[in-house]
Symmetry: C2
Subunit: 275 residues, 2 copies
C-alpha cells in the first residue's frame, strides 16, 4: 500500500499511529466498495450501513459529502477498482474506555478489482468455525473479524472457494465474506442477520429492490434446508452475485434467481464483468 493509493483523514499516507483503537480493539467499522469508471456501486447502501454502525458503536459518522470527495480523489484513471474504508474511533490512551473527545480516523485504500468469479460457480465448504450469537454486534461491518479469519483459513486449507458459516445455534448465517441466498422448496430465502452475520450492502440493495426484494423471505435457514436447495448464490458489494456450484461436494443446480438478482443490481447501476 502506497500513500498514492491511500488517504488518512483525507491526506495521502499509508501508516497509522500505533495507538489507534482500530488496531488495539477492532474499535471501528469498514466498508469495501466496488468502483467502476469512477462511480462507487451501492454507495447509498454502504453509507447507510456505515451510519448504522456508527450509531450502534457511538462513533461520529464522517460527513458523506467529504467522504465522496475523498473517494473520488482516488479514482481518476481507474476503470475498475475496490475502495476499502476503515473508520476507527481514532487514537486513544490505554484502556477500553472510549476517549472523552474522540477523533475518529478515516482510512481509505484503493485496491485492485478482483478477478471475475469462477464461471462454473463456487465450491463451498461448511466451516467448523461457528459464529457466536451476538445481537449487540450482529449485522455490523465492524473490525472484530477473527471468526471470519478462522473460517476462511478452513476454506483455504480445504481448497474450497468460499465457506458457509453457521451460527452457534446451528443455523446458516452467511459466507465468510458474502451473504447467502437459497431457493428452498421453491421459495427464495436469506438468513436474518440480527444474531450473527453481516447485513451486506448488496443484500440490502437486493432486499430493497421493488421487483426482487418481495420474492425473498428473510429468516432462519437451516443446513438441512440449504442442503436441499435447488439454487444457491452468494452476494457481496465487490463481486455482486456469485452462483454456488456445490456445498461440501454436493452439486447444486442453477436457476433463475441469480439472474433476477443480477438484473436488480444492474438496475442500481452495479454491473461488473463476470457477474
Amino acid at each position: 500500500m502506497t500513500p498514492e493509493a491511500c488517504r488518512i483523514d483525507g491526506a495521502p499516507a499509508a501508516t497509522i499511529p500505533v495507538d489507534d483503537r482500530g488496531l488495539a480493539y477492532g474499535d471501528g467499522l469498514f466498508e469495501t466498495m466496488r468502483a467502476v469508471d469512477g462511480r462507487i456501486a451501492l454507495w447509498d447502501f454502504h453509507l447507510a450501513r456505515l451510519r448504522q454502525g456508527c450509531a450502534r458503536l457511538g462513533i461520529a459518522p464522517p460527513d458523506a459529502a467529504w467522504l465522496a470527495v475523498e473517494c473520488a480523489a482516488l479514482l481518476p484513471g481507474q476503470a475498475d477498482a475496490v475502495l476499502k474504508l476503515l473508520l476507527t474511533r481514532g487514537s486513544g490512551s490505554r484502556g477500553y474506555a472510549p476517549p472523552h473527545d474522540p477523533r475518529p480516523r478515516r482510512i481509505l485504500m484503493r485496491l485492485p478489482a478482483p478477478p471475475p468469479p469462477c464461471p462454473h460457480g463456487l465450491r463451498l465448504l461448511t466451516c467448523a468455525t461457528r459464529l457466536p450469537l451476538d445481537p449487540a454486534l450482529a449485522g455490523l461491518k465492524h473490525l472484530n473479524r477473527l471468526h471470519q479469519v478462522m473460517a476462511r483459513a478452513e476454506v483455504d486449507a480445504a481448497g474450497a472457494d468460499e465457506g458457509l458459516c453457521l451460527d452457534a445455534a446451528g443455523r446458516v448465517a452467511c459466507a465468510t465474506a458474502a451473504n447467502v441466498f437459497a431457493r428452498v422448496d421453491g421459495e427464495l430465502r436469506t438468513p436474518a442477520v440480527e444474531e450473527a452475520g453481516v447485513a451486506g450492502a448488496c443484500r440490502a440493495a437486493l432486499l430493497a429492490d421493488p421487483a426482487f426484494g418481495p420474492s425473498v423471505r428473510v429468516g432462519a435457514l437451516s443446513p438441512q434446508e440449504i442442503g436441499r436447495a435447488s439454487e444457491v448464490f452468494l452476494t457481496n458489494a465487490v463481486r455482486g452475485v456469485m452462483p454456488v456450484a456445490s456445498i461440501d461436494g454436493r452439486a447444486i443446480g442453477t436457476g433463475g434467481a441469480a439472474t433476477a438478482a443480477r438484473a436488480a443490481l444492474s438496475r442500481l447501476g452495479f454491473a461488473v464483468a463476470g457477474t
Copy 2:
C-alpha cells in the same frame, strides 16, 4: 506515543502500515504487563498465554528471548511502567484469508503505570452488554474487543469504577478488564473462561500458586451468587488485586481472600504500590 517509547519488530517506530491485519480484522493478540524496576511481573504467565493464543490463531509466536530483550530495552530508568505488546498476523492483502507467508508484527509500547486503585474498593456496575458464548475465542487476549469497549462505555456513563460482564447465558464472566473472584457461602470462586472472558495472567498465577490456587473453585458463577458474596475482588496483571466495595450500589464486605491473593502475588515477585 513516541518512537522512543515504542518498538515495532524491535526497531523504534510509532506507526504501522495500514494493511496490518490487526487493524483490518483484529487479527492478533495482546499482553499488558507491569514492569517494576526493570522486571516484568508475571512474565512466564504472559508468555504462556501469548503462546496459547498463537497456537489457537495459527500465528507464529515470537522468540521469547528476543521479546525479553526488546522489553528490557524500553525499561532503563523506568521505576514503574506498563508494557503493552501487540502481536498481529502482520500485513496482508485484502480478504480474510491469512497470508500464505505471514510475517507477524510485534508492537511494543511503554506506557505510564496507572495510579493506585481507590483504597476504599471499586464500585462495580453490572453491564447490559453481554459477552457472547464463544468457545473458539474465549480465554484468549485477542484484539477483538468491541464488547469490552461497549461495556466500559457503560461503566463510564454510570460513573462506576469497573463493570461486571455477564455472558449470554447470564453467568458472571469477568470485569471489563479484570477477572473476578468472589467468596460465596464461604467458598472462593472464579468464573471459568472456556465460553467467555479472558484467562487473565494474574488469575492464572493465582490459580497456579500452591498455597492459594487450591482454595479457589473454578466454574459457573451466577449473578445471584455474587450478589450474596461476602467478599469480591478483581485481578489483572497491571493492577494486581483490587477489592470491590460495591456492585450496583450494594455494599460488599472485606475479607481475607484479597489479602491471601496479594500474598500469593508477592511470592511471585509481583507487588505494586496500592495493591
